[in-house]
Symmetry: C2
Subunit: 214 residues, 2 copies
Amino acid sequence: MVAGMQSPPTPAHRPGGRPRSAAADAAILEATRQVLVEIGWSKLTLGAVATRAGVAKTTLYRRWAGKSELVVDAVAELFDELELPDRGSLAADIEGVVLQFALLLGRPETKTALMAVVAESTTDEPLRHRIRASIVDRQKRLVLAGRERAQARGELPAEPDGVAAARTADLIFDVIAGAVVHRALVSAEPVDEEWARRFTLLLLDGLAAAAATQ
Amino acid sequence: MVAGMQSPPTPAHRPGGRPRSAAADAAILEATRQVLVEIGWSKLTLGAVATRAGVAKTTLYRRWAGKSELVVDAVAELFDELELPDRGSLAADIEGVVLQFALLLGRPETKTALMAVVAESTTDEPLRHRIRASIVDRQKRLVLAGRERAQARGELPAEPDGVAAARTADLIFDVIAGAVVHRALVSAEPVDEEWARRFTLLLLDGLAAAAATQ
DNA sequence: AGCTTTCGCTACGGGTCGTAGCGTAACTGG
DNA sequence: CCAGTTACGCTACGACCCGTAGCGAAAGCT
């Protein structure tokens, strides 16, 4: 658990006055995840979350602007669990993070919420920024760490051009995250060790090599 | 326009009696896409679609079970536009289909709807099957066609094992579709020729080669 | 014709939304 | 300790959308 603090729902707290209950925050986010699992995104109501969390509905509206924002915060916490343990080789590192990511996407609250908020973000600019800041961009650290390690091992060449290196990292990130999400949620087939192995092989050596090896 | 007929909303039509208006079907699906663009998935109401289409709300409910099913049908039509023109090489073919797919995902009705119905499908088994049948599986033809052509050109080896070949096709499909969707909708950055070129290079030659070439 | 199915329309109870208003609780600075 | 400030729980509200039922009229088939 890396436990990077999420930004609080509301920015500041002027001194003086009753402070916001941190316990209520935690209870609300946990309740959100529970309700998400039980009745899904579209039928989730803020009233139900409030009841489940044991707080008044108005309290919930004072802290979050709407359903989307609440769910983003509720799910973002889970993504910080991802890590990149050193498994000795670039291939092993990639397989490891793929399986870890798949495990995360296998949790019902994650799979339901992630796609839903992304969908909503296509017509909601502020929400898109919130998602990127809270979820997506935070995980690029995994790609950067993996590359750094691979370069130290001599598996990848050092990159002189910083701009090009950043673009490559973005590309890798989209390919890995995109492929796993598509396999798990759209194709709805298992992301198991077999698949992770084949995917890693493809990513490292390319299509021609992968087709030849089978 | 390949125009593969979609399955009708309701299975049979017993002989005798007034037939269902095909014009109403078309008007409803078109209206659905329009409303989707204007107010987004979460705020889309079936009443609004019915009004826009010029039909009674009850007519809409007689044909579709709910919002998700309606939107799947409304969007599925658009995906049949994808084609794979022969551009002379595997790399060019891939770049072409990537850009074509990106163009499709750039349309507001597509980007909004696709993620939303996938999200809904994570807690709705019948819906997931409908999506796979109407949208996802139909596009695997592109991967199969591309491979066949590449093998004819001698760019890829022939595959003796049919099962393994099918698994590889599924893998390629998840990687291409996943990466483009993730880039376009999650990272929300442009899928332009530059990106398509770099992605194709990565897919064909692998990470090490891609990093070296920059 | 007569039969069958669809269509448009109206109306309904039930649920959720997001907000307002009020009295109370919690914490801070003088 | 007390006044000031903010958060909380609760209740109530109009507005909207849901999904269905019931009706008479329209449009086909045999």
